[in-house]
Symmetry: C2
Subunit: 392 residues, 2 copies
Amino acid sequence: MKIEAVDFFYLSMPEVTTEGDGSQDALLVRVVAGGHIGWGECEASPLVSIAAFVCPMSHGACRPVAASVLGQSVDGPEDIQRIAGQIELDSMDLLQASHTWSGVEIALWDLLGKSREEPVWKLLGYKRAYRKLPYASQLFGETAEETYRLASAARSQNFRAVKFGWGPIGRFDLKTDNDHFQAAREGLGADTLLMVDVGQIFRHDVEAAAARLPMLEKVGTLWLEEPFHTSALDAYAALSRRGTLKLAGGEGAHNFYMARHLIDYGNVGFIQIDTGRIGGIGPAKCVADYAVSKGVTFVNHTFTSHLALSASLQPYAGLRSDEICEYPLTPKPLAVELTSNHLRRDTEGYVNVPDAPGLGVEISRAAVRRYLVEVVIKAKNRVLFDSGGLNI
Amino acid sequence: MKIEAVDFFYLSMPEVTTEGDGSQDALLVRVVAGGHIGWGECEASPLVSIAAFVCPMSHGACRPVAASVLGQSVDGPEDIQRIAGQIELDSMDLLQASHTWSGVEIALWDLLGKSREEPVWKLLGYKRAYRKLPYASQLFGETAEETYRLASAARSQNFRAVKFGWGPIGRFDLKTDNDHFQAAREGLGADTLLMVDVGQIFRHDVEAAAARLPMLEKVGTLWLEEPFHTSALDAYAALSRRGTLKLAGGEGAHNFYMARHLIDYGNVGFIQIDTGRIGGIGPAKCVADYAVSKGVTFVNHTFTSHLALSASLQPYAGLRSDEICEYPLTPKPLAVELTSNHLRRDTEGYVNVPDAPGLGVEISRAAVRRYLVEVVIKAKNRVLFDSGGLNI
């Protein structure tokens, strides 16, 4: 099958705020080859990721992503890997390339699965997919009281695991943070797993992060996520030796190596991979394999639609013991409406990885039309991208 | 001084080819604050880097670079560091941000130096700047004969050090590579330093790279540069144990951490930093300090104009023993004409880091007009960038 077309759809809520909610916009990718259509999603700035697909070449190692994709043949997983390898060399100096390629790569897996009438996890070599225990992923409240209410609400929605992230943590004093941690635990009750994500707030300050460890350990936190910059490996390693709490990180990894370094040098206990950033499902599967070999737990990272959710689950669908999965609790309407089917929790609260061909998620064309924003990019007297020409 | 304006100029040769020559286009940055003008250069895809400055916000941790820069005050180096820290958090999910910020950061140092009437290296804390021994940086020939001619030509231009890069190396058989290495040495004679850059061609294949080590050692190569992907730290470390040849790398580092990892985990002997990619002069200086503490030699990476060359020299201008510097031998006319003064070699073949305020390099407005290409970016019904509105 020859890749005939790759189209990008920049979708956005009418208003985008500074809250740490990644579901406020989306970059949907559609790939057409051999009479099949595949869908993927990039987890990154839509405009910049589109630009990385269509930009003029700067030199042999700074070519647009399109140059390695359009016209290529895809008849099996090895073709996706071949294209990825070509981008690694030919777009070496184009930093945004891996974010752009991620969505295309996911769409190629979806397309390949549809053409073979098999779910993607089977193409990855898994014999079966195990259901995952979703944790409700949400932001801390502005106040401890609000955090308590959010925790209670998640509990009442029957979540057995809840993650709180970002918000005020690390921005004020220790007492504020402690109040939020305690409020979260009180709202959840003793029998719900609690994870905490601080969104790199401590940068590389081990002492600042370490000051929160006793509080987090006291409320029985399963992991502390992203205390530092994704690449602050030394800080991760140092903090991991300061207490019993396991660290989690990896969502910022934009290639396999970065995830591996967090395991090898950063000593994380949970490696969290966003297929929409790391270069897609292929490298994420490599991370899952590597994590297994090192006794580290693989967890998906996702914060947008159920298309992205399904893509994020494929790399570790067949790993029974890596049970926990991220599950956005209150995504924006755009992210909900974007797919016409959803990965609902079953009666026991688990999420089943789709069994249908490809990613098993259908795109709502009406939603795409509803949230599509105009993008026009011209350079060197050529129109490189015009959303007005998109056929939905 | 308040940052009033940041303008980007996408410059390009009329024709851009797939050769590995980074001087075929350029992204020039002009910053205006407090009645002063500073100039910088990004080393990356111009269109994508512009998009990362002007893109709509996706969420609180995926804001355009402009949001952290425009309107900020810059009265000292600590302000540049503060802005860099804000971008690290607020543009965390915008991968291209560090490439974009690099050029702005360089322009801010230039502006700060001009306002204080001091060269940038003095602002960095150096008491004096030592002249550097430039190596002529050029690509391997298509054939060994051409490589020989190029080597002879560089020698006749009185270069005491020459680096050959990319081209056919690693793409064919061992004999081809060996012929090129020998031709380079023969053309240079015994008394010229020879370095070899293979442009990540072996990805992470230690054996393929190791097969070239005896050949490279035989012709007395000073370093082998970028045998692998910037992040293939394990491969670097493994190869460094396979022979006596020192490894060099780091041009792909887009933050301080990545460079540090190449030293700590990759065991490189030379760390090569492009200020136009790593986030500018500030983080590059941090790498220089760290390299000194680890006995690793700092080398600039640069392949475009003498504005970029001057910026790349500042971080280690005061390190006497780190003497070697990259010096593009045959840049395209755009890169030559872009500056109205140049860092010429002195009679002994050395390059002096400018003593003039800022980066000590003047921009030729005529050249900017000559090579400027049209860029228009619209999104969400707003014109985010229009090169037609640039005042040169």
